[in-house]
């Protein structure tokens, strides 16, 4: 039979006052913590390793293995830092999760901290979501009041403090070492690795940095066990994941399913592409993952299959665009994003994204030259693999994949503006009359 949904994290999002501790407990919350506190910490790590859970923040690194990289305790502090800086274009899963059910994350934080011997954990949430920050602060307050946080948690003798920290607007802080610098009160710029955070992370102490959804998946693994988790997904991409459908789809939203579901199956649940239109291109995991087209509708959305098809599963941010959309316009805008968000630390990314944007802007205006496509590819080759962190690599993904699949649209950019080939009012969800060329808007913001 076709794959169906598997709500675990999202199962009670529709409950009355879903974000409160009482609602969370009514739906089975904090059983995982009770089980974990009765186990040796090393067994908790083993359970997560055995589950095959892989990082849900994009890279897909095995979560339990990451925990296992911490050196043996030396009597000094060890830290858990949750990466809640969700900013990858198209990605919209952690923010609704923390809005609807912050206790899921808090329970995961406590179990993980217990497992790795951490007594002070941090949640770094982006600053541009004030109500999510309120919900997290309140969730931590409730957890303290109920004895899930603080001294001697549930009589176990284990102590944990949690600090929820708001960022201040910087995509790069989603990169784990930039996040640590930012949390230390510095400009958020990535660090040279090694040393990896497991060895020298926050305050140069052993640190685990995990994505929100990864940590929120831990309580279920403790309740159900590794074998329960592995009933979902594929052999090497186990478990459930939030798939976020957005764009030209009839019913955009969050669909929690086993890894390995396909876009064709998800689109069927979401009512298909908007009426009267057809799929043109999509991102499997945010703008930093190479584009897919209609030929990839049946690629199983697991780490291995998406990789084999030439992209990355990333954050399962499925941004869907129909045939009215100019791929040149889309890629230009993403490139302007990377240019804006480049932290400036390394030359290939700082300069390269600037040059990419300049060339793409003239192609979007229909004023490109015949050498521009080769120039774009050459620039990408000088960024990819040469940048300091994954931001630069990610910036090249939409450019190279779009040229691979839609080269003729870039060639048209040598003589015809994108908004003539693809009038923007046909792509928008409401009727309007454009007053200016989108190319004229390009680069408005510094």
């Amino acid at each position: 039979m076709a794959t169906t949904l598997a709500p675990v994290l999202s199962d009670h999002w529709d409950a009355d006052r879903s974000w409160t501790l009482a609602t969370y407990e009514d739906h089975g919350g904090y059983r995982g913590l009770r089980r974990a506190l009765g186990m040796p910490a090393a067994d908790v790590v083993t359970a997560v390793k055995d589950s095959g859970l892989r990082g849900r923040g994009g890279a897909g690194f095995p979560t339990g293995m990451k925990w296992g990289f911490l050196p043996a305790p030396d009597g000094g502090p060890r830290y858990l830092v949750v990466n809640a800086d969700e900013s990858e274009p198209g990605t919209c899963k952690d923010i609704p999760l923390m809005m609807a059910s912050p206790q899921h994350l808090i329970e995961g934080v406590i179990i993980t901290s217990f497992a790795i011997g951490c007594h002070h954990a941090f949640i770094y949430v982006r600053g541009e979501v004030v109500h999510v920050y309120r919900r997290l602060l309140r969730a931590v307050e409730e957890a303290y009041a109920a004895g899930y946080l603080g001294k001697n948690i549930l009589g176990s003798g284990y102590d944990l403090e949690v600090t929820v920290h708001a960022g201040a607007g910087a995509y790069i802080c989603g990169e784990e070492t930039a996040l640590l610098d930012s949390l230390e009160g510095l400009r958020g710029q990535p660090r040279l690795k090694p040393p990896f955070p497991a060895v020298a992370g926050l305050y140069a102490r052993p640190t685990v940095v995990n994505n929100v959804e990864s940590i929120a998946s831990v309580p279920g693994i403790l309740v159900g066990g590794a074998d329960w988790f592995k009933q979902m997904g594929t052999e090497r991409s186990t478990g459930h994941g939030l798939f976020s459908l957005s764009g030209h789809v009839t019913r955009p939203g969050q669909y929690e399913a086993p890894l390995g579901i396909t876009l064709r199956e998800l689109l069927e649940m979401a009512g298909g592409i908007r009426e009267g239109h057809e799929l043109k291109f999509w991102t499997p995991g945010g703008s930093s993952t190479p584009l897919f087209t209609a030929e990839h509708l049946d690629v199983p959305l697991d780490y291995e299959s998406v990789g084999a098809a030439g992209s990355m599963l990333g954050t399962r941010a499925l941004q869907i665009f129909d045939e009215t959309t100019s791929v040149v316009r889309a890629v230009t805008r993403w490139t302007e994003f990377y240019k804006h968000e480049s932290c400036g630390k390394c030359t290939p990314c700082r300069e390269g994204t600037f040059w990419l944007a300049q060339i793409l802007q003239r192609l979007e205006r229909g004023q490109g030259t015949t050498e521009d496509i080769d120039l774009l590819l050459d620039l990408c080759d000088n960024i990819l693999g040469r940048a300091f962190c994954a931001l630069g690599d990610g910036a090249t993904s939409p450019v190279t994949s779009a040229i691979q699949y839609f080269r003729e649209e870039f060639e048209a950019g040598t003589h015809t503006p994108a908004d003539v080939l693809f009038p923007p009012e046909r792509s928008s969800l409401f009727d309007y009359t454009p007053r200016r060329s989108p190319a004229a808007l390009a680069g408005v913001h510094a």
């Binding site: 109500h131 594929t234 990355m312 510094a446």
Partner: protein, 293 residues
């Protein structure tokens, strides 16, 4: 260097360079609470800059000096951080920041149209404030609400599924001093300074206001409940959690995994001759290995 010696800067506007004693004492008490949240005091800098914006409506020179003095930093060190992050304003902000998402997905769904309409409607552009000091327009990047596109953020509360007309009506209401209710958020949008105080980590009693989720967030949840789709039951818990009507075949992933595919951020299909040279590929792999954790 003492705070008072700072010289005023800015065109046509002199910055106040110090706080009066009562204000300073109040800010110092708040700062002490912030510092207490962290093992090392410098970590308090980002929330303290939000606190400065809660007081002055932007990161003021006196606020920078206050942070520097409190944390034992130079004003240059504080400025270096303040100028890195887009939420810190370098000149007085309006009472409400109206941010239109112009990242690709929102832009294509109509964000560009909303932006141009608001610019025409207010007569101001990016990072500019209406003459009444009420509204600062901003082009914002992806705000993690793509399933609600096009999105407008007002003081970092969500206004989902906007149109040029609805966004203009919001701006008009803000300028008229009327209450604006976010789609998913508090019972009303609070002014910039109040919002900044929350971001400094001080709750305002509004966490329980508003909804838990909007319709798009719940689509998968509701569909699964309607169809009786569930995750596999936890061992020893038959039937699965909650209503038995939900029980059906457990969900299972499609497709057979292909083994041996290493997923690297540096992998993409061959598009140029350089890609196929073994030397290039080794270089890329070495670089990827260094980044991979």
């Amino acid at each position: 260097m003492s705070v008072e010696e700072l010289t005023p800067r800015g065109e046509g506007q002199a910055h106040r360079t110090s706080y009066d004693d009562a204000t300073r004492a109040r800010l110092a008490a708040d700062a002490a609470q912030i510092v207490a949240r962290y093992p090392q005091e410098r970590s308090a800098l980002l929330p303290m800059l939000h606190l400065v914006q809660a007081e002055d409506g932007y990161v003021s020179p006196r606020g920078i000096a206050f942070c520097a003095q409190t944390l034992g930093l130079t004003t240059a060190e504080v400025s270096a951080v303040a100028t890195f992050y887009t939420q810190y304003k370098r000149h007085p902000n309006g009472e409400y920041t109206v941010g239109v998402c112009i990242n690709t997905l929102c832009a294509v769904m109509g964000g560009d149209a909303i932006w141009e309409h608001l610019c025409d409607h207010t007569g101001v552009g990016h990072d500019e404030t209406t003459p009444d000091g009420k509204v600062t327009l901003e082009r914002v990047e992806c705000n993690a609400a793509c399933d609600y596109a096009p999105v407008v953020m007002v003081n970092w509360e969500f206004l989902d599924n906007q149109t040029p007309e609805s966004a203009a009506a919001v701006v008009d209401a803000l300028r008229a001093g009327e209450k604006v209710v976010p789609t998913r958020g508090a019972a009303e949008v609070v002014p910039f300074k109040e919002m900044s105080r929350v971001l400094a980590g001080f709750l305002d009693g509004r966490a329980d206001e508003g909804v838990g989720a909007g319709e798009p967030t719940l689509r998968g949840t509701v569909l699964a409940h309607e169809q009786g789709w569930t995750a596999p039951p936890f061992p020893g818990e038959e039937p699965p959690r909650a209503a038995s009507s939900r029980a059906k075949a457990p969900a299972r992933g499609a497709g057979t995994p292909r083994t041996g595919d290493v997923q690297s951020s540096a992998e993409r299909p061959v598009t140029t001759a350089a890609d196929s040279s073994s030397e290039q590929r080794e270089k890329k792999q070495a670089s990827s290995d260094a980044k991979e954790q």
